[in-house]
Symmetry: C5
Subunit: 325 residues, 5 copies
Amino acid sequence: MLINCAAYQDGKKLADVPIEAISDYLVKPGCFVWVALKDPDEAEMAAMKAEFDLHRLAIEDVMKGGQRPKIEEYGDTLFTVLTTVEAGENGELVTGQVNIFAGPNFVLSVRHRSEQGFQDVRARCEREPELLKIGAGFVLYALIDSVVDRYTPVVDALSAEVEELEDRIFEKQGLAASRALIADLYSVKRRLVILLHHVTPLVEAVSKLVGGRVPALCTGMQAYYRDVYDHLVRVSNTVGARRDMIVTAIQVNLGMISLAESEVTKRLGSFAALFAVPTMIAGIYGMNFQIIPELHFRYGYPACLAVMATIDAILYLRFRKAGWL
Amino acid sequence: MLINCAAYQDGKKLADVPIEAISDYLVKPGCFVWVALKDPDEAEMAAMKAEFDLHRLAIEDVMKGGQRPKIEEYGDTLFTVLTTVEAGENGELVTGQVNIFAGPNFVLSVRHRSEQGFQDVRARCEREPELLKIGAGFVLYALIDSVVDRYTPVVDALSAEVEELEDRIFEKQGLAASRALIADLYSVKRRLVILLHHVTPLVEAVSKLVGGRVPALCTGMQAYYRDVYDHLVRVSNTVGARRDMIVTAIQVNLGMISLAESEVTKRLGSFAALFAVPTMIAGIYGMNFQIIPELHFRYGYPACLAVMATIDAILYLRFRKAGWL
Amino acid sequence: MLINCAAYQDGKKLADVPIEAISDYLVKPGCFVWVALKDPDEAEMAAMKAEFDLHRLAIEDVMKGGQRPKIEEYGDTLFTVLTTVEAGENGELVTGQVNIFAGPNFVLSVRHRSEQGFQDVRARCEREPELLKIGAGFVLYALIDSVVDRYTPVVDALSAEVEELEDRIFEKQGLAASRALIADLYSVKRRLVILLHHVTPLVEAVSKLVGGRVPALCTGMQAYYRDVYDHLVRVSNTVGARRDMIVTAIQVNLGMISLAESEVTKRLGSFAALFAVPTMIAGIYGMNFQIIPELHFRYGYPACLAVMATIDAILYLRFRKAGWL
Amino acid sequence: MLINCAAYQDGKKLADVPIEAISDYLVKPGCFVWVALKDPDEAEMAAMKAEFDLHRLAIEDVMKGGQRPKIEEYGDTLFTVLTTVEAGENGELVTGQVNIFAGPNFVLSVRHRSEQGFQDVRARCEREPELLKIGAGFVLYALIDSVVDRYTPVVDALSAEVEELEDRIFEKQGLAASRALIADLYSVKRRLVILLHHVTPLVEAVSKLVGGRVPALCTGMQAYYRDVYDHLVRVSNTVGARRDMIVTAIQVNLGMISLAESEVTKRLGSFAALFAVPTMIAGIYGMNFQIIPELHFRYGYPACLAVMATIDAILYLRFRKAGWL
Amino acid sequence: MLINCAAYQDGKKLADVPIEAISDYLVKPGCFVWVALKDPDEAEMAAMKAEFDLHRLAIEDVMKGGQRPKIEEYGDTLFTVLTTVEAGENGELVTGQVNIFAGPNFVLSVRHRSEQGFQDVRARCEREPELLKIGAGFVLYALIDSVVDRYTPVVDALSAEVEELEDRIFEKQGLAASRALIADLYSVKRRLVILLHHVTPLVEAVSKLVGGRVPALCTGMQAYYRDVYDHLVRVSNTVGARRDMIVTAIQVNLGMISLAESEVTKRLGSFAALFAVPTMIAGIYGMNFQIIPELHFRYGYPACLAVMATIDAILYLRFRKAGWL
C-alpha cells in the first residue's frame, strides 16, 4: 500500500508524485524522491524494483520478512533492514520490520507489521530544509534515528520492571507471589534477550557507517550516524547490564526461597514440639501401673496441666527467641 | 553411487554425460560439468580424483567423514564440507555430510547419510538459465543455500519446543511431569548445542567468501554469498538466544521445584498439626488421675469432641489463609 | 550558570573574562579561554555554541544528558562526556555528567547533577604554569584525570564492603541476618555493575587518545593520557574481579543456607525422636490387657520412668556426638 | 636414550647413522637426518645442541619439561612442543611431552613420559618416498599429525562417558549412586578441562603454520598443515561442546536431587499421616470420660477398627493418586 | 634505601659506584650502571630522576604504588611495573611491587613490600658475562624472569590445594567440615582471582616485547622475552583452568550438601516411622471399649509386643534395604 510519494529539491518539497511519474523526477539534477510503502504486494514491489533498479535478493528479503537488522550495499544503493520493537498490550514485545532502500536520488521505506509510521519523520525533515538539502543520506539517517529513538521507552519500561522485581525479591511473600515473581523474572529476562537480539546486529551494522570506509551516500554525515551509533550502544549496554542483574536476581531469588523454606521447617518443627511435650506427659499418666502415687494427689490433675503449660511456655519463649516461631 | 552427471553451457544443459566422457566436456570453452554422487566407494572417488585433479587430503576428508563444516581452497578448486541437520523420528537431530568440489569448469557434490538430495536445486538452476550461465560459482551458491535453508525448519521446531517448555515450567505439576520437564529441558539444550556446533564453523567459512580477498570462483557473486551468510548468522543468533534462555529456564525450574517442595512441606506439616491437637487432648483425658472433674460431666465427652473439632477448624482456616493447605 | 571564565597565556592567567569578551581573547595568539558552566540553560548553551562554533548534536547531548561516557571529534574540537560517580548518603551511587569541549584555544566544561566542581583542578593548573603552557590539551587531561581520581574512593568503599560481606557469609546467623546478607550481596553486585557500566566505555574512549592516530589536541601528551588510561583499566579490572567474587559469594551463600537448613532439620528431628520414645513406652503401659505383669511390680512406675530417661539420655548423647543436636 | 638415527635423500633412506657421523650427512646436499631420542640425559642433549646448533632456551625447555604446546622459530629451525594425552588405567588422563626440532636438513624428536613412539610414523614415511622427498617439513607434519590423531580415541572415550552420564542423570537411583554420579560428572569435567588445556595452545600454534607468513620449512605444505589444524579445531570444538553440556548436566543433576528429596519428603509425610489417624482415634476412645456411649456398643471395637482402616484406605488411595506414595 | 649500585662493561663488573659518581659511568661507551633501591624516600627518587632523566609520571607511579603490572616506553627508557606474589604465613597471598627503569646504559630497580631481593639475579648475571655483555636489555629480562619464576611455587601450592579440596568434596563429612570446605573453596577462588588479576596485565605487557614493533632495548632478545611470555601464559592458563574447576567444585558441593540433607531427612523419617507403629498399636489396645476380646487373651500382652517388634523389624529391614537407614 502506497503511503506517500514526494519529490524534493534543495531541501524543499516539489510535489506529490504518482508512482508512474517517479522516473521523471529521478533524472532531474539535485532532486530526490522519497517513497513510503506499507505491507506492499508483489506487484508494488515489482514496480519499485523496476523504478529504482533494486537487487532481487533485497526484494526477496523485503517480501519474506524475518530478517535480522543489517545494512548492505548493492552498488551505490544502501539496503537497510531495521526492527521496530514496541511494547504490546500485555507487556509482550511486538516486533515489526522496516526496510529502507536509499540511493543517490531516492529513498524507499517499506514497513511490515509496524503500527507507527514515519509521517512525523517526513514532517520534521520538511521543517528543516537546510538538512533535507543534503538529500537521501540525511533521510536515511532520520529514519534510522526515528526507529532507534523508539527503543528508549521500551528499555525504560523494562528497566523500571527490573527495579520493581528487585524490590519484590526481598519482600516476604506467600507461595503464589513467589511463583509469580519467578515467572516475572523469567519473562523480563526473555524480553531483554529478544531486545538484545534485535539491537546487537544493528549496532554492528551502523558502526560501518561511522568509521573506516563509509558508503558514498553517508559521507559528510559522520557526526549524525555516530550519534545514532552512540544511542544504540547505550541501549545495548543498558540492556546488557539489566540482563546481567536479572541472572543474579534469579539466583538470589533461589536463596530467598531456600530461606523461606528453612523458616517454614523451623516453624512447623517448633509447633510439633509444643504438642509433643504434653502428649508425652499425658501418655505417662495414662499408664496403668498399679502404683503411680501422683495419680492420687488431690491436685494431681491441675498440677499436671500446669506442668504441661509451663514447659510449653518455656519452649515457646525459647523458640521465639531463637527466631523459630 | 552416481546420481547425476550433466554438462552445461551458456546456462543450458547440453547433455547427460557418462563418467568416461567428462574430460571431453571439460575442455570445451564456457562449458561446465555438474556431477552428483551419493555414498561413493573408493573406486568412484578415485575416478573423480583423476577426472578433476582433486587433492588427496580432500578425498580423505570425503571418505572418512565426520569433518567440521569448512571451505578450503586447493589451487583454483574450492572444497566445501557442509553438515545437513534434519529432525529424526523421535526429535533427535540426524546429521549428514555434503562435500562439494567446485572448480572453474565443474561442480562435484558428494553426500553421505543425507536422505534429501539436490535434484530440486538442479531443477531450479535449470529453470533460471541467466543465473546458471554464471557457472560453477552459482551452482556452489545454490547448493550451500539449499543446505542452509533446511536448517530453518529445525530451528523453528526447536524454538517452538523451547516456548512450550517455557510454559510448562510455570504450570503446577506432579513429580513425574517435573522429571520429564527437566529431561526435556536438557534434551533441547543438547540439541541446540549440537546445532550450534555445526552452524558456527560454517558461518566463519562462508564469511571468507563475502569480504576481503574472495576466491576467483565467487567473484561477482558477493550479494548471493552475503545472503547465505546473513541467513547463517540469523540461524546462529537465534540458536544462541534460545540456548541463553534454556540455561535460565533450567535455573528457574530449580526455583519452581524448591517452591513446590516448600509447599509440600507446609501441607504435610499442617496436616500433622491437625492430628496432633486432638491426640494431645485425648491423651490428657486418657490420664488416670483420680480426680479429673471433666470426666464426670454429663456432656464431657461430646464437649471434648467439640473442643477438638473447633480447634482443628480454627487451625484449618488459619493454615488455609496462610496458604499452607 | 557560569561558574568561571578566564583567559590564559603562556601558562599564566591573563584575566577573568566576561562571556561577551571571549571572542576577543580567542583571536590572540597563544592564548586560550577556559569556561566552566553548571546546569546551563538553553540560552547559555546557545551563546557557547556561537562563541566556540560547537556542533548542534554535541549541544543536544549536553542538554539531554544521560549519555554514555565518550570522546568524539568534531573537526578539531574534542567533545568529551564523563560520568561522575559518588557514594550517596545511603551507600547508593549517585551519578552526574560532565561534558567538556576542548578546542585549540578553549576549554568549556559543563557539569550536571555533580556536587563537586573543578575549582581545585583550575587551582592546581594555575600553580603549574609550565604544564598549563601546553594549553587546552593539558586542561582536558587534568579534568579527565580529576573525574577518574574520584572513582578511587568509590571503588575502595565497594571493595571494603565486599570483604566485609565475605566475612559475614561464613558467620553463623539467624534468618533475618541471612536475609539482610543476601540483600546486601545483591546491592553490591548492582553497584559494581553500575560502576562498570560507566567506566567501561570511558576506558575505550580514552584508549583512542593514547595509541594509533591521536587528535591534534593531544599530541605530545601521550604519557599523560596513558596515565589516565592506566588508572581507568586498573579501576575496571578491580571492579571486574570484585564482581567475579560477588557472583561466587552468592553461590557460596546458597550453600551456607542449605547447610543451615540441614542443621535445623537434624535438630528438630532429633528433638522429635527424644519425645517419641517415652510416648511409645507410655502407650504400651497404657494398654488395657488383663495380664501385663509389669503393671503390678512394686517399683514398676519408677522403673519405667527410669528406662525412659535412660533411653533418652543415650539417644541425646548419640545425637550430640553425631552433631545433630 | 637414542631410539633411532637415519639419513634420507630423495625420499629414500640412505643409512642408519651413528651420532658422531651426523655432521657428515648434514653437509650433503638434498640430504636430511632424522633423530629420535627418548628421555635423553644432559650429555645427549648437549651433543644434539652442538650437532644441530640448537638454542639454549629450547634445550632448557626440553630438559625442564612441563611446557605448554607451542611452535617457536629459532632462526630457520622450528622448535615444537607437543603434549601427548593418553587414557591411563583408571580412566585418568596421562600426559607426556614430545619436543621436535626441525631445520632445513634435520628433524630431532625427543619424547618424555610417552609410551607410544613414532616408529610407525617413520615406517609410513619410508613407504611414501614421494612425500618424504619434501624433507624435514613433511616429517614435522607427519609427527604432529600422529600426536593429534591420538587425541581422537581420548575424545571419543570422554564423549561416550558424557553420554552415559547423561542417561544416568535421569534414572531413579539411590543415594550411593547419586553420590557416584556427581563424582563422575566432576571427574569428566576435570578431564575435559585438562584436555582443552593441552589442545587450545596447539590450535593457536599450528594456525601460524597455515596462514599469513609461514616459516620457510613449511612452505608448499599448506594443505597438510591446514589438515592438522582442522583436526585440532574439531577436537577443540567437540571438547568445548561436551564441557558446555557437562556444566548443564551438573545443574540438571541438582534439580533431580531436589526432586528426589521432594519425593522422599512426600512419602515420609504421607506415611506419618497414615499412622497419625488411627493413633488419634485410639486416643479418643482411650479417654476416661464416664459417659462415652460408643464404648458400650457391642461391636464398638471392630467398628472402630473398621473406621480406622477405612480412613487409612481412603487416605492411601488419595496419596497414591496424588503421587505422594 | 640503596641496596646496590655497580657499573658493568663488556659483561664484567667495573666497580661499585656511589650515587654521585653514576653520571661519570653513564658517559663511558659500552658501559651501563645497575642500581637497586628498596622503599626509597622522595629524596632518593629525586636523585634518580635527575641522574637518569626519568619521567615525573613514572616517578609518581613508583611512589604511589598500587599500580597494575605494565611496561611503558618513555622515550628510549622502558618503565616496568611488576607485582611479586608470595604465599604469606596463613596461606594468604602477599603482593609487593617492583619497578624497573631500563635505558640504553642503565637499569634501576625499585622494590616495595617485597622481602625477596634480586641479589641472586645480579650474582647469576655476573657469572654469565657473555649474556651480561648484551647490556640493560638482558638485565631487564633477567629481573622480569626472576619475578615470574616466583609465581610457580604459588601456583603449585594453589593447584595442590584445589586437588585436596576436590577430594574433600566427595568425602562424607559432618556439618562443621562442610562449613569449612565451603569457606576453603571460596578462599582458593579468591586467591586464584587475585593471582590472575596480577598475571593477566603482565601477559599483555610482555607480549609487546615479543612480536611486532619491539623497543630498541629489547631487539635481539626475542627468544628470551618469548620465553618469559610463554611462562606467563602457562601460569595464566593454569590459574584459569583451576578457577574454572573451582566454580564447578562449588556447584558440585551444593549437590553433595543437598544429597546429605536428603539422607538426613530419610533417616529421621524412618526413625519416626519405627516409633509411630508401636505407638499406634498401643493406642488401640489402650482404648476403653467394653468388649475388646484380645485384651482377655492369656498371652495377649506378649503377643502384642511381639507383633510390634515384628512389624518394626520388617520396616527396619526394608528401610535398610532402601538405603534410608
